[in-house]
C-alpha cells in the first residue's frame, strides 16, 4: 500500500461529523490481522429484530464472492425476523479468488450467524483490499466472539475507520426529518477513494435509519436515489469488483416512511453527502468538480456527456493545472456518443459563460474563468441546446498524486 501521509485537501473541514446513535443499531470493531497486524480491519454492524434491508451493488461481470452472496440474500426476510448483521473487512477484497472465495464467504457468514443467533440469510459480508489473494477467513471468525461482546450503540466512527483502505479520512454523514411529528434519523458511513466510477463507485457504504419502512419500499427508494448519488460520481472511470451499498431501517422510531417523500429526500441527503466525500477523497484529488449538463435530448444523453467530461484525462489534467481549457470540454462532448451539435453548445466555468453557439463567447475574459479555476470547488456547466435532458455528476482532478498512489499500490 502506498504510504498516504496527508489527508486530502478536499476533506470536510472539522473532521468526522458527530453522528447520532440510531436506536436498534450497534457496532464493534477489531484488529484481526487480515493483512497487517495491529490495524483495526473488521467491523460488525448489528441491527435489531424487525429491521428491513435494501442495497445496491457493482454491476461488474467479475464481481466478488461477497457481492454475489449479498445479492442472493437481498430481499429475503425470514418469518422470524431477529435482525441482521453486516460483517466487513478491509485488507483483502476476496475478489477473483475462485472456489476458495465462495468458501470464505460461507465460513464467515455461517460463523457470524451462529455467534449472533441469526439465520445465515440475514448476514451480509463485504471485503475490500487486495484482489486475488485468499481471504484468511479463520482470522476473522476467530474474532467474532470479541466483536459480539463489544457491540455498542455509539461506535459508528470506529466502524467507519475499520473499513478504510487508501482513504485519507473516515466518511460519515447524517440527516433528520419529521414524519407525522416523529423525528427520524439517518446516519451512514462509507469508504472509497479510487477505482471510483459509474455503476457504483468503488465503495462500501452502510446507512442506518430508525424509520419504519417495508423492504420493498426501502429498496425502491435506494435504487432511485442511487442513480443520482453513488452512480453519479467518478474518480478514474474504473469500476470495482466489490462495490456495495447496504441500508438498514430498524423501524424503532415508529414513523412509517413507505412512499414518504420527506424521508426519501433525507436519505438522499446522506447518500449524496457520502458520495461527495468519496470524490473528495479521490486519489490525488486537489479539486472537487460538479459537472452539470442540460439541454440534452434526454437524461441518458445528458449523463453520457457529463461522464465523458468527468472521465476525460485531458479535462481532468487541465483542472489540475487550473487551466480553463474549454476546448477539452468541447472534445469530451464530441466523443461522448450523445447527440450534440457544435453550433448550439454553450459552456460555463463557474458563472463565467465561456463558449456560446459553437464558439468562444464574445464577452469572455479568460481571467474570469481562470479565477474560478483557482478555487477548490469547481463547476462546469454545459448546455447542449437540444432538449430538456439534464444530469449532474461529480468528479475530481487528475494529478501526480494519483500516479504516485497507483503506480505503487497493489490493489
Amino acid at each position: 500500500m502506498a504510504k498516504i501521509t496527508k489527508v486530502s485537501p478536499l476533506a470536510p473541514k472539522g473532521g468526522f461529523p458527530q453522528l447520532p446513535n440510531i436506536d436498534g443499531v450497534r457496532f464493534s470493531t477489531v484488529a484481526a490481522g487480515v493483512k497487517y497486524a495491529g490495524r483495526t480491519d473488521v467491523m460488525l454492524a448489528h441491527v435489531d429484530a424487525g429491521s428491513t434491508i435494501a442495497g445496491a451493488f457493482t454491476r461488474s461481470s467479475t464481481r466478488s464472492a461477497p457481492v454475489l452472496d449479498c445479492q442472493a440474500k437481498l430481499g429475503r426476510v425470514e418469518d422470524d425476523n431477529k435482525g441482521f448483521a453486516f460483517l466487513v473487512n478491509s485488507g483483502n477484497s476476496n475478489a477473483f479468488t475462485g472456489r476458495v472465495g465462495v468458501e470464505a464467504v460461507e465460513a464467515i457468514t455461517s460463523a457470524t450467524a451462529k455467534t449472533l443467533g441469526l439465520p445465515v440469510s440475514h448476514i451480509y459480508t463485504s471485503s475490500t483490499g487486495v484482489i486475488g489473494e485468499p481471504l484468511p477467513h479463520a482470522k476473522i471468525t476467530a474474532a467474532l466472539d470479541d466483536l459480539a461482546a463489544t457491540l455498542s450503540a455509539d461506535a459508528i466512527e470506529d466502524a467507519a475507520r475499520a473499513i478504510m483502505t487508501t482513504d485519507t479520512f473516515a466518511k460519515g454523514a447524517t440527516a433528520t426529518c419529521e414524519i407525522g411529528g416523529v423525528e427520524v434519523t439517518v446516519a451512514g458511513i462509507a469508504k472509497g477513494s479510487g477505482m471510483i466510477a459509474p455503476d457504483m463507485a468503488t465503495m462500501l457504504v452502510y446507512i442506518f435509519t430508525d424509520a419504519k419502512i417495508s423492504q420493498l419500499g426501502l429498496q425502491e427508494m435506494v435504487s432511485r436515489l442511487n442513480e443520482d448519488t453513488f452512480n453519479a460520481i467518478t474518480v478514474d472511470s474504473d469500476t470495482s469488483t466489490s462495490d456495495s451499498l447496504l441500508v438498514a431501517a430498524t423501524g424503532t422510531s415508529g414513523a412509517i416512511a413507505d412512499d414518504n417523500e420527506t424521508f426519501e429526500r433525507t436519505l438522499g441527503v446522506v447518500m449524496k453527502d457520502l458520495a461527495h466525500q468519496v470524490v473528495r477523497d479521490g486519489e490525488g484529488a486537489t479539486k472537487f468538480v460538479e459537472i452539470h449538463v442540460e439541454g440534452a435530448t434526454d437524461n441518458v444523453d445528458a449523463r453520457k456527456v457529463a461522464m465523458s467530461i468527468a472521465n476525460s484525462p485531458l479535462v481532468k489534467t487541465a483542472i489540475a493545472g487550473e487551466d480553463p481549457n474549454w476546448g477539452r470540454v468541447v472534445m469530451a462532448v464530441g466523443k461522448s456518443g450523445a447527440h450534440a451539435d457544435r453550433d448550439t453548445l454553450s459552456i460555463w466555468f463557474g458563472d463565467v459563460l465561456v463558449a456560446k453557439d459553437g464558439w468562444v463567447s464574445p464577452d469572455y475574459v479568460e481571467a474570469d474563468a481562470a479565477a474560478h479555476m483557482k478555487g477548490e470547488d469547481l463547476r462546469i456547466r454545459v448546455d447542449l441546446g437540444l432538449g430538456a435532458g439534464h444530469s449532474t455528476v461529480w468528479t475530481c482532478d487528475l494529478t501526480h498524486g494519483y500516479i504516485e498512489i497507483n503506480a505503487d499500490y497493489r490493489s
Copy 2:
C-alpha cells in the same frame, strides 16, 4: 505548449526512416507563423493527375471545420482529374471556431486551388493545434506561392516535421510489394501523441502510393484496415475533433491494386507501423503495450474488453509501476460491459500465465511476470473462454509525464 525536451524512450531506434520517393507525389513546407514565428508549420502535398483519394475521419460530434470539409469532398473526382493537394497546418486546429472557421477553410482551399490550378473540390486541408482560436488563414494563403514553387519529390521528412505539435519525433513508414511483376511502393507520415483514442486517434496521417486503384476500391481497403490500425490504438481515451487520415494513389507504377490482397497487406503494414509510432509517442509514455483479447462472444465484445483494459487508469499506472497487477485487469474486464465470466477467465503477462479459471494460476510465480513488466514492449493477453471473438489494441502507460504535459499545455 509544454516544453518537450526529450524524445520518447519508445521512439523507433535509428530515427526517421529512409522513405522512398513516390512517383507523382511532391511536398513542400514553410514557416508561416501560424502560432510561433520561425517554426515550420505548413506543409503542402501535391499528387498528380489521375490519382485517387480515400480517407477516414474522427467521429466526434464536435469535429472541426476542416474535417467536415474533407468529408464532404471525399469520393468526389472531377471529370478532368488534374490531381489533388493536401494543405496542412500545425499550431491551430481551427476547431470550435464557428462561422469564421468555415470561412478560413474556404479561404485556404480556394486560394490553394487557384495557386495550383486545381478544382477546389480536389483540395483537402487539415489543421492541428489549439482549439477555439480563429485560424490566421491569411498567413497561410500568403505562403502559397512559396509552397507551390518549392514542391519537391524528396521532401516527405520535412512534411512529417511540419505537422508535429506535442510529438517528440517525426513519424514515417514505408513498405513495398509486387503486383504482376511491378514493384509498388507505399510511404506515409503521421503526427499525434495525445488525445488518442478509438474512433481515430488524435492524428493526422497522409499516405501515398504509386499503385493504380479506383477511388472506391481504395476507400473500401482503407476503411477495412483502419479498424485494426488507427482505430485500435489509444493513449488516453480522449478523441480529437480533428483526426484525419488521407491516402493518395497516383497510379504511376501502372500496377492495378483493386481487390489485390498483397497490396492491402502492404498498405496495412504502413498503417499499423504509423499507428504504433503514434502510441510510442504517447504523452509521457515509457511502455508500449499490446493487449490481445480472445475467447470473446464476438469481435465487438473482444474490442470492448481490450479497450476497457487499454483505457483503465489503474491498469496504465500499474504498467508504469512495472507491477504485474492482474487484479486490475480483472477489474477492467468486469467493467467493460462485454459478456465475461469470472470463472472462465485466463490472463497472461507476456508468456506468463497469471490467472486461470477465475483464480491465480497454481504455477504462477510473480517474479516471472514482474520480469516481463520491466521490458519496454509489453503484452497482456486475456482469454474470456466463451467464444471465438478476438481483438488486438495498442496503448501506453500513464505516467507523471502525461500529467506534466497536460496540466500545462493549452490544446
